[in-house]
């Protein structure tokens, strides 16, 4: 049976269909989850997609964080459920304190959409184990508030513990501290990434196929954890 990956739709989610497509192309079953439904329906992993949840008013992700599904998801993530937050999803994970730091207004103050080179800095996460360490990839970036900030101590700690997952190369599109494009939690099961891997999964519509690696990685991760004795299995964790 193929893995079941949930994709959450909040009011104002936009890239949920794309994330579901990427999940399918990676060979898993995409399960649509609704923000108001606290039940994770037994999925093995979750993607929080890009978009403008609640219009991105106030701060991006600030309101979505309180959705019923997020309460359940937070507990499950702490229990090891793999969670990938893309763009708005990354912002929500930070607002929900599942990842440290915050995403602030791009320093040039504009929304920016371009094809962006990244370097994968850590392959020790549920979503990057399929990449080579140091691998350079090209995927779209598109955001207005993608400038990652955290205090120096947090940044040093992220670096020291290998939790900087990807960095911008050939130009930082938003002013992120230390060119950070993606980070992970301590356990490596929760990853937030500002650029959009789900937009680089088909030659016809994306700048590359590099994004697919994030979605196949989690399947490898799930296959690995599934082999572990019961109880270590992240799936099925619920609140």
């Amino acid at each position: 049976m193929s893995a079941r990956v949930g994709v959450v739709t909040f009011p104002g989610s936009l890239d949920d269909g794309d994330a579901a497509r990427a999940v399918r192309l990676a060979g898993a079953e995409a399960v649509r989850l609704w923000h108001a439904d606290a039940d994770l329906h037994g999925v093995d992993a979750v993607v929080l997609p890009g978009g403008f949840s609640y219009g991105d008013y106030l701060r991006c992700g600030a309101i979505a964080r309180f959705a019923p599904v997020m309460q359940t998801l937070a507990d499950a993530a702490r229990g090891g459920l793999p969670v990938l937050g893309i763009c708005n999803g990354f912002q929500i994970l930070c607002e929900a304190h599942l990842l440290p730091g915050a995403l602030t207004r791009n320093q040039h103050l504009h929304f920016r959409n371009r094809d962006q080179m990244l370097r994968i800095e850590s392959t020790a996460t549920a979503f990057t184990n399929g990449f080579e360490p140091g691998q350079e990839i090209l995927i779209p970036v598109k955001n207005g508030e993608g400038c990652y900030v955290a205090d120096e101590r947090t940044l040093d700690e992220l670096e020291a513990t290998g939790r900087v997952v990807a960095r911008y190369l050939q130009g930082n599109p938003n002013g992120s501290q230390r060119d950070i494009a993606a980070i992970a939690n301590e356990a490596g099961n929760v990853v937030g990434i500002m650029p959009h891997p789900e937009h680089a999964v088909e030659a016809l519509t994306g700048p590359s196929l590099d994004g697919l690696g994030f979605f196949t990685s989690v399947l490898t991760h799930l296959a690995g954890t599934a082999a572990l004795p019961a109880g270590a299995n992240a799936s099925g964790v619920s609140a």
Binding site: P11, G12, G17, G50, Y57, K142, E202, L204
Partner: protein
């Protein structure tokens, strides 16, 4: 529905300054000034009812300030058999405005229908919210371009943003899911200080709204020319996809069906010229009642889109119409007129942002993100449940009523707290507006302009000069790289963008399985059209047609946005007539129909009109998007060929 202010306004429009008119003599004003709380303000005597209008035939009304001619006002009195109430006067002035009635352009636009080649692809054409074209047996595409020029000069960000919002609702009203936007833009000189205000604001507004809706921007134009200094052009196109079986229409059919207003609350947005009805006194209160800029909320629009689509798919709608520039007035009259029914509306049920709004203000409000739905009573609960799921307000405000036994049409009766404030035949508002054959005359300077030929310009004589010319050209604002603009737009969202900037045409995949898609391009050249509007329009069509063809599409349908100066200027009217004739002839020659479009008049600063600027959009069918043709050289050693003369 269109989204320009309902009353034609010379630039800069009066929206900023508030009504710049003399105080109309004897309009009765609410004693409380209309600003007290609703409860206190509810004195029946405050409202100009039908009964009161019948009893006060001599009361003078500010129809001229509302843009109505003497004879137009007389006709309204004839139709009603009495003087109109304030609310009726507001409604007629809106619906009979140039913008809604097409009174100056109608006689010319007919050619699009008359000269159109037969097409079995067209499922809905001119007269509908947007044209609909069949792509496969199961799928259809709808597309349309509209202007939001004047509001974008006043408040560039919101003007442009609500322009996108407006055209997207047109597409939605046809039953389609909007899947992309495009934005042909014209600004004044790139180095003019006011361009530094307008240009970034417009681009941010288009991006802000489109990005937040999750619609990829797949193309557009950015042109700088001093003729647009006081009157930029902000045109927006949207394209949507629908199963053929989901095609919607706007007719308010079915006596007893419920009229639902869905979406944002109604506020004093963009009330425009109608505010003169409330401006007899310029005290502090009326100061606050100035017509206000329309502010868009793309988040609500996104929810509106999702709930409408869910409602369509569940088969719950009888008729639907978006609310745009003429707000409820247009939606109520057009839906009833289209069905030949009557309608009874209780206006106080409309959810308001400001409790003190009066009937004519509610009817004229241009508040964004609203749709009008006609629903069978048995399906009402299901509709309300879907709206609730998405967190969108949906309110029953009225009911469809019988047509008169004698006439084919019914009456639109609008009450305000139990009193009748409107009682009129909807068709008289929606369809029977005045039509003018305006005088036309070739501009007297045209011969001189045409005589000033490019051959007289100095030519680069040396390689160095040639180099310099080339560098100057590619560095010029009109030819330079446009990524400062396009990077502010999301072109990836929805995952079906096959070609976008900097390609000649946008290409999107419509169906993931079969790979069928569409190509679309928008083009216009005001300088050509200024020299020769007939051929200028044809050239715009030809360019757009070529752009679609080189991307791999087979052109099948045309939309257009005709941006011109004042129709009351015979020179402008001549330009307009020539451009329409050129476009209609061009379409006939190429064998593709015009399926819809938009006319924007009064684009001028003082008495100086912009260059006539017909913008033409061509839609092409791409059988398999895998075979699309990107521009640029493919690989080393490829042969380069030049086709044509």
């Amino acid at each position: 529905m269109t989204t320009e202010p309902a009353t034609p306004q010379p630039a800069p429009p009066v929206v900023v300054e508030g009504p710049a008119v003399d105080q109309p003599p004897a309009v009765e004003q609410p004693a409380a000034g209309g600003f007290a709380d609703v409860a206190i303000d509810a004195e029946p005597a405050d409202v100009d009812t039908v009964e009161r209008a019948a009893g006060t035939p001599e009361e003078s009304q500010p129809y001229a300030e509302l843009g109505l001619q003497d004879d137009e006002y007389e006709r309204i009195r004839e139709i009603l058999g009495r003087r109109p109430t304030q609310a009726e006067l507001a409604m007629y002035s809106i619906m009979w405005s140039e913008h809604c009635s097409y009174k100056s352009s109608k006689v010319h636009l007919r050619q699009f229908g008359e000269k159109a080649p037969k097409s079995d692809r067209m499922l809905a054409g001119i007269g509908e919210n947007a044209g609909v074209v069949r792509i496969t047996d199961e799928l259809a595409v709808t597309f349309k371009v509209e202007s939001h020029n004047h509001p974008s000069f006043v408040e560039p960000y919101q003007g442009a943003a609500t322009g996108v919002g407006g055209i997207v609702r047109d597409i939605l009203a046809m039953g389609a899911r909007p899947v992309a936007v495009m934005d042909p833009l014209r600004f004044g000189a790139a180095d003019h200080p006011d361009t530094a205000r307008v240009f970034p604001g417009v681009v941010a507004g288009i991006g802000g709204y489109g990005n937040c809706l999750g619609l990829p921007n797949i193309g557009g134009e950015v042109v700088f020319d001093p003729c647009y200094q006081g009157n930029p052009l902000v045109n927006a196109l949207s394209i949507g996809v629908l199963p053929v079986s989901r095609l919607q229409n706007k007719a308010a059919a079915g006596v007893g069906n419920v009229v639902i207003l869905m979406g944002a609350k109604t506020g004093r947005d963009g009330i425009g010229g109608v505010s003169v009805l409330a401006s007899a006194t310029f005290d502090e209160e009326s100061e606050q009642r100035r017509p206000s800029v329309q502010v868009g909320d793309p988040f609500i629009e996104k929810l509106l889109i999702e709930s409408c689509l869910e409602i369509y798919d569940a088969g719950l709608v009888t008729g639907i119409q978006d609310l745009g520039g003429a707000g409820l007035t247009c939606a109520l009259t057009e839906t009833a007129a289209a069905a030949g029914t009557g309608m009874r509306v209780e206006l106080e049920k409309v959810p308001l942002r400001e409790a003190s709004m009066e009937p004519h203000e509610i009817l004229a409000s241009e508040s964004q993100e609203r749709m009008l739905l006609i629903i069978e009573p048995a399906k009402l609960d299901a509709v309300l449940a879907i709206a609730d799921k998405w967190g969108v307000l949906a309110t029953a405000i009225g009911v469809v009523t019988e047509p008169d036994p004698d006439a084919k049409s019914g009456r639109l009766i609008i009450t305000w707290r139990g009193q009748i404030v409107v009682d009129a035949p909807p068709g008289s508002l929606a369809d029977d507006g005045p039509v003018y054959a305006r005088p036309m005359r070739e501009p007297s300077d045209l011969i001189l302009l045409q005589a000033d030929r490019a051959e007289t310009l100095p030519r680069p004589a040396t390689p160095g000069e040639l180099r310099q010319t080339l560098l100057t050209m590619i560095g010029s604002p009109n030819l330079c790289d446009k990524s400062w603009v396009t990077e502010q737009y999301d072109r990836y969202v929805l995952g079906n963008t096959v070609l976008a900037q900097p390609e000649d045409a946008g290409v999107i995949r419509i169906d993931e399985e079969s790979g069928v898609g569409v190509a679309i391009s928008l083009d216009g050249n005001g300088r050509y059209a200024r020299l020769d509007p007939y051929n200028g329009a044809k050239l715009a069509l030809a360019e757009s047609y070529r752009n679609v063809a080189v991307a791999g599409g087979t052109p099948i349908a045309v939309t257009n946005c005709l941006n011109f100066g004042s129709p009351e200027d015979p020179g402008v009217m001549w330009q307009f007539a020539e451009a329409v004739r050129g476009l209609a002839d061009g379409c006939q020659e190429l064998g593709i129909p015009v399926t819809g479009g938009n006319v924007s008049f009064y684009n001028q600063t003082g008495s100086v009109a912009i260059h006539p600027t017909p913008v033409v959009g061509v839609l092409g069918l791409v059988e398999d998007v895998n075979a699309r043709v990107p521009m640029g050289f493919g690989s080393d050693g490829d042969v380069i060929m030049l086709l044509g003369e």
